[in-house]
Symmetry: C2
Subunit: 721 residues, 2 copies
């Protein structure tokens, strides 16, 4: 039993003895600094790898202040402003934080600013408006009763993450803190400086083994309002990768020009929930090419100095796309990211890189580590959620972040994370770096994004809950801990024959989003490909508003396959006779109470449209669960699947049923109680783990026979040989 390794500890200056003790307690084999802490001299003597943060887009503030014309840019949209009589004046900065962004007026305004009539969708001729000062746009003769917006180019004058930390921690009162200014690595003078500074820094820091890039060049979209609160946050957003230089280079390479509106996107800013336009995809590729080649230059320099290059999955990660086609070219040795639940854990663990590390919660920050806080509860919850994913696809390492001195004041917490670190090592060692046995069923999640957004669908801000998406992101959360071979496929992949290697297709999301698919479903070839896949024996699971595109008498373009469609109030006149069946494999409790779907937050008013569909659950007129046999295949409809253990079990059984593999489910060791998971390794060992906060009497069955019965405490796991 290894009691050391695979754990990274945040350390700081002035508590050398405690650092040594904690390293022993957690079995840590690496140390790191955090934002605002420094590595103590002690690191020279520790038998551990040393990580150090490195900021290629804002680490060099002295230089940044001396070179103010090097900021990256962003296209922003003004408020929607109605013309209610006379000339219309729009202050583009209304609603924005002047500390963060500043209109860029030293550009060709006719190209880099754009006034749009949002009532007609038409761009207003640049001769028809003028700029007064740096913020006021005046349209002399607007159309009465129309609404106008201004798309404008703005400089990023305050780094978004540092701004967030600064404001959140109220650093206005701390004279040692300045507002950090980002710089754009596309500019030759920036890039020269960044390269030479990195070389210098590498030489100056022999004690550092791992350069933890935080991160590279372009921040995800994070814009504050004039009240210093979040106005727009998109963890996947490319809006902050803009500059005149980039726009001109794009035009040269791609042969056409992008406009401000290609970024503003009616105000939706190409959010990942939008069905992406071809122009936006081109921009992603363009930025990806640039970022990949520049990251490679940095990792080459790191390797040349004998160190490793690690990327933090966050902050300025835009353009790296760990699931994109060029990620291998970055030369990175590792990726580390924050683990909030199973989905975010899988998002990190499944990245194809030499090693991955998950930073666990809670962060050692005063918001939790105070007399009212309950850091043990947070650690347990984080572990309970993440462990489901870790079992299926092990992270290589875990770690913590923040101020160690704070955590030390909570000795029970320290004991508990010591246990968690050991449990993590045990799982890793038992698996020997491999996953436990998977089911034979190959699952393909199909949406407009495909592979590039693997494990990232329906996320808004990283792992934060959103009422409107919980019923759909729950599917990803559930799958992250389930024993299936899972692929994320784009509709283009489907058209190119990807379903030949898939047993069960899942389409989950809200109508009109990239995840359901929106206008893609207007494509007869896509419909025919998926319909034929099911007809010849495939399985399909639709959750929420699958295959949704209102056309030709259907909202669900595969309504014949599912037997369920959205009632758009255009066929309320049609009699519906839902045939609710009492028993079904999917909801069967195997001797206990039937599994009851919690479809909270899911789609409403999806109704039966063929006689042959079996309804498993209905709420008023809204079907919550239904199954339908279709030619040689099977379809399952669920109106929503927020994550919980019962829902995860329902999804598991729905997948087996859709794949016509009920026998496989029954003949694989599993717990009757859905709160308990069982993972069986090739060695024959079984890990049985309680993924709930309740005490559970677990009954392990196989082929209908009970093999084990025991009690598990909340969060407890145990091994069976």
């Amino acid at each position: 039993m290894n009691t050391t390794g695979r754990v990274t500890l945040p350390i700081e200056v002035g508590i050398d003895d405690e650092v040594r003790e904690m390293m022993h307690k957690l079995g840590a084999d690496a140390v790191r600094n955090s934002d605002g802490t420094h590595l103590p001299d002690l690191v020279h003597e520790l038998a551990a790898k040393v990580y150090s943060t490195y900021f290629p887009a804002r680490g060099d503030q002295e230089w940044a202040v001396d070179n103010p014309d090097t900021t990256p840019h962003i296209f922003l949209q003004s408020n929607r402003t109605p013309a209610t009589g006379g000339p219309l004046t729009i202050n583009v900065m209304d609603g924005y934080l002047r500390e963060q962004v500043e209109p860029q007026t030293e550009v060709d305004l006719s190209r880099y600013w754009q006034v749009i009539d949002r009532t007609t969708g038409e761009t207003v001729a640049s001769e028809a408006w003028r700029l007064d000062g740096t913020e006021l746009v005046i349209i002399d003769e607007p159309v009465l009763g129309h609404v106008y917006t201004v798309n404008f180019l703005a400089k990023q004058i305050w780094d978004s993450t540092q701004m967030y930390n600064y404001i959140t921690n109220n650093w206005d009162e701390d004279p040692t803190r300045v507002k950090e200014r980002p710089y754009d690595n596309r500019l030759p003078q920036v890039w020269d400086r960044v390269q030479s500074e990195l070389d210098r820094w590498l030489a100056d820091h022999p004690e550092v083994d791992v350069v933890r890039f935080t991160t590279f060049f372009y921040h995800f979209t994070l814009v504050f309002n004039e009240h210093r609160k979040e106005k727009y946050v998109d963890w996947f957003g490319y809006s902050m990768s803009v500059s005149v230089a980039a726009m001109e280079e794009f035009a040269r390479v791609y042969g056409y020009r992008l406009t401000p509106e290609d970024f503003v996107d009616e105000g939706y800013y190409n959010c990942a929930f939008r069905v992406p336009s071809d122009r936006f995809r081109d921009w992603m590729d363009f930025i990806g090419d640039f970022v990949t080649s520049r990251v490679r230059a940095l990792t080459d320099a790191v390797h040349a100095s004998g160190k490793e290059a690690m990327m933090f999955l966050g902050d300025n990660w835009i353009g790296t796309e760990p699931y994109g086609p060029r990620f291998a070219e970055t030369g990175l040795d590792a990726v580390v990211g924050s683990v909030g639940n199973a989905a975010t854990c899988r998002m990190i663990a499944d990245i194809d890189v030499p090693y991955t590390e998950g930073r666990f919660l809670p962060y050692f920050f005063p918001d939790v580590f105070n007399p009212e806080g309950d850091p043990i509860a947070e650690a347990n919850e984080s572990w309970r959620m993440a462990r489901r994913a870790i079992v299926r696809s092990p992270l290589d390492r875990i770690g913590y972040g923040g101020y160690l001195s704070l955590a030390l004041k909570f000795p029970d917490f320290v004991d508990r994370i010591g246990e968690i670190c050991q449990e993590f090592r045990d799982i890793y060692d038992a698996a020997e770096g491999k996953s436990p046995r998977s089911a034979s069923v190959r699952v393909g999640i199909i949406n407009a994004w495909g592979t590039i957004r693997s494990w990232q669908t329906h996320m808004v801000a990283h792992a934060l809950p959103y009422e409107q998406t919980e019923a759909y992101v729950g599917v990803i959360e559930a799958l992250a801990g389930l024993p299936f071979d899972i692929s994320f496929l784009s509709f283009e992949d489907v058209l190119n024959g990807a379903l030949e290697n898939i047993d069960v297709v899942i389409n989950v999301g809200e109508a009109g989003t990239a995840y359901s698919g929106g206008r893609y479903w207007a494509d007869p070839q896509l419909q025919a490909a998926v319909r034929a896949f099911v007809a010849r024996g495939g399985g399909i699971i639709g959750i929420g508003e699958p295959c949704a595109y209102s056309a030709n008498g259907a909202f669900n373009q595969l309504s014949d396959v599912f037997g369920i469609d959205r009632e758009q109030s255009w066929s309320l006149s049609t009699g519906r006779y839902p045939r609710v069946i009492d028993e079904h494999f999917i909801t069967d409790g195997e001797g206990e109470a039937p599994l009851s779907l919690d479809a909270r937050g899911g789609a409403r008013y999806w109704v039966p449209v063929v006689e042959s569909v079996d309804i498993l659950a209905v709420n008023g007129t809204s079907v919550e669960a239904a199954v339908h046999s279709y030619c040689d295949g099977r379809a399952v409809y669920l109106s929503g699947l927020p994550y919980n253990q019962i829902n995860a079990r329902i999804l598991t059984k729905a997948i087996f049923w859709a794949a016509q593999a009920e026998d496989e489910y029954l003949s694989t060791a599993h717990s009757v109680d859905p709160r308990v998971d069982v993972a069986t390794y090739d060695s024959g060992r079984q890990l049985v783990y309680n993924s709930s906060c309740e005490r559970v009497n677990a009954k392990i069955v196989k082929n209908g026979e009970i093999s084990e019965v025991f009690t598990l405490n909340p969060y407890e796991s145990t091994w069976i040989d």
Copy 2:
């Protein structure tokens, strides 16, 4: 005090004494027969008007059976059928009741049948399919994975109402009953026969004063499935007005041909919730012209015989359109209809005809008049709901229907409806045929239909509740009993300046429906007209999904006006900071608890999109009520308004607030408790009525001062002089 008049009693043979006694008890001044009852000889001596039912589309069954080629027709759609390999055979009758409809194959199939690829929306060339027998359509080379339907012409071989009664009452076991066959008055031989038969019948029935047409020529759409259950019922549907003769005549008059798809409408059959196509409107006009002129011929004949012509608003009412432009030309003396609630009551009462009559519930049928039934409760409920409308726009008469002999077994019921009849007369007499004082606020409900669907919006089957529409039909139900001048305006009316005579506009309904407006809101001129109306001081109230059309960065095309828009999941990244305010005129309880909106079934995920909007109620992230001042006008958003007394009061106050007429509300006598309504007549008399089933302590206030306090029993009303 009049104790007689304005009441119609259903009578029957063999209970002459009881008829006389009941006439006295109810103060009835008219008698009628019902479906399945005959007028007794007694009618010759009664001092009462005599109504007799008359059926111009099915009353002459002997002739109908001898002339089987005279049925009206209907276009139907087959099941959506996928092509999963090889030739595709579709049995068009699958799902239909062969007793009711029969494919019409003796027509030019290439014109009157139509095969459509519902995956592409394209019509399949008639050479590419063939008919085998009378029901099977074979497509030899369908596209694999596409879905096909057949639009086919079918004969109506069983009258829909008689079918409904026959099946519901199980007349299969009654040898005296036959299945009645409808005939199409467009055919010359039918029309000749119907005219001559009416003349003969009028001459033969001197005892009849009022011919109660039940109704005219074309039934609303009512199609049964193969299990003899309702498959499709649309009280407004024109599908059953079809024939080859009509189609050819239409082509001649309008200069273009309609296709089967113009009726099938992707399977939605031009349901009233669909934004109507121009082609369907043309058909309505075409049928309306025909029906109006033919009705006029019948009413002329009735008048020539010295009798009155009354129309039953139901069954074969299609093409009469009581709120259409040609209704006055019908020459009708009266309209009678079934009253289920306030909205249906107003729908009848507001028709511009010499007199209107409401048939009250319960119908004297065994389903209620049995030992387990509670006919008094039904009478109270019907009266409680209808009285709100009657006070505002008096019906001229009320009546009952069914078998009098059944009602006589419930003497308490007879007493209760005697009271109701007297209360009705008292209200009518106090009003002297006029309405009580209205508020000064003129309300315009704007939707795709306008006037022609006055009081008919969001109804599916007549007055039956539908989960998906209750939050919207509740607005109509509330308005039917409120003291406002109410118009129903089409978007064309709005474009033609109708808002000049309106103070507050209401747009209510679900996105994509004719009631919200769907694609109409893509029209910049409509947006500009309504936006400018509010900007210059008008009021607007949006309920559910107002002004909804996803385009140009908004779902609610007047999102700037309301300050609220639907979160389509494309802007989840945008921070929302709903400012919930504690007090507002609209929800103020005037000393009692604040008024709490019940928005059950309403829209979800409508969120604040401007800073200046005041939120009155929010549920999770979904705004339920909000107010917004916009230039010189005001906007109110409510996510839904199912009918109840508190919601009706909230709507009342929202209208006054939107009109900037709060003072008028406060200075008009009203009850603090929303369950009690107050109507003030020009005479100065006030009717105070409890529109709830609870005992209420009513406090009448005016200008903040209490004028009266008293207790009202459930349903009770009282007069104040």
